[in-house]
Assembly symmetry: none
Homo-oligomer: 205 residues x 2
DNA sequence: TTATATACTGTAAAAATATACAGTATAAAT
DNA sequence: ATTTATACTGTATATTTTTACAGTATATAA
């Protein structure tokens, strides 16, 4: 099987992801939108190349007439098992096997945004936001967070779940419980690592 | 899940076979050709019926925008699309398509107990249990509930989510908000229908 | 007897989509 | 220095496809 160029590989992945999410293949225009191309012909050329190399088949004249012949990644057909990580007092939440308490079968796209793992909540600092002890907060690994986001932040070796608010070098980590006080950090004096942000929550009754 | 008519069943099978063979869904015209209809509207009507009964989802305006939600055969392994139902003021929560606000890809076994649908929470009566407006409560259809369970109960045409407590003919539906009062029902005087119980909760941030 | 649901035909317009053609730009190969 | 392959933009058009509307026919329920 012939090698794919970087862009061809991206296009194939895009088709596969779309197919997985919607159940039918994307149009040229949709591929463009996803990958940032400005001409439908960009997608067309890549698709033709993928066809030539035997990765897809194109039904000429049919809309969305793409079928994936040889998948790049092996999509697991069974439901994903998303890991649950305890909010350990020390160190970053890592996906190392020893930190995974258990796994929950669910779709990483079940919330508005995709997520990477569940964080098990300890303590009552966010209770007024309806976040209880042992709730599982779905975390997307990212450093791209805005004021007001519910974020996972590491200070020294302490990991915490709080609302995020930053003005220049002044970082505030805001709890949702009047018995707790705001954590203020001067970023010139102390480092803070944003591990990710919450995109959702689940709780077992 | 509602029963299908003979023709609807044929159309669903046709879609599934086509999907299996080509990798993308058929158009109305192709369904007609396959099943011998002479008008694309014949296929259209059957597809709309299948959508209403929850077997497929149709992406409006998209060509071939059909995704099979609930397969007749059991060969689609894609993650289940669990329905979200609004807590309507009147009548039971039903799974008829007109009551389904959207669907969420997730595993029906993600909680300790399996569930049938999500109920979208209205109001603040359970806020002290960390259940907010617009949270989605996972409901298992059952009448087998115990005191202390979080249940969906219908009184007359009112559907409500409360804690369950019953002593003989005396039923109490207990909110989790000090501004709300307990609903007391004498079962000799008034009927109460237990629609199901909550097995979990999800919230999108 | 009059609805009501199922099950279509036939037509047509609007919208979505594939796809051809004419270019531009860049890097690597010859 | 010129070709060749990759990687696009931009435009236009023919075709595909959805979808609304107006009917017809039949069986079943109220």
């Amino acid at each position: 099987m012939k090698e794919l160029t970087k862009q061809q590989s991206k296009v194939l992945a895009c088709v596969e992801v779309y197919l997985n999410k919607t159940g039918f293949p994307p149009t040229r225009a949709e591929i463009c939108k996803e990958l940032g191309f400005k001409s439908p012909n960009a997608a067309e050329m890549h698709l033709r190349a993928l066809e030539k190399k035997g990765y897809i088949a194109i039904q000429s004249g049919s809309s969305r007439g793409i079928s994936v012949v040889k998948s790049q990644q092996n999509f697991t057909q069974s439901p994903d098992q998303m890991p649950v990580i305890g909010l350990v007092a020390a160190g970053s939440p890592t996906l190392a096997e020893e930190n995974i308490e258990k796994r929950i079968p669910c779709d990483p796209n079940m919330f508005a945004d995709s997520f990477d793992y569940f964080l098990k909540v300890k303590g009552l600092s966010m209770i007024e936001a309806g976040i209880h002890e042992d709730d599982l907060v779905a975390i997307k690994k990212t450093t791209d967070v805005k004021n007001g986001d519910l974020v996972v932040v590491r200070l020294e070796d302490e990991v915490t779940l709080k609302y995020f608010k930053q003005n220049n070098h002044n970082l505030e980590l805001i709890p949702a419980n009047k018995d707790f006080s705001i954590i203020e950090v001067d970023l010139r004096e102390q480092e803070a690592f944003v591990e990710g942000k919450s995109v959702g929550l689940i709780r077992t009754h």
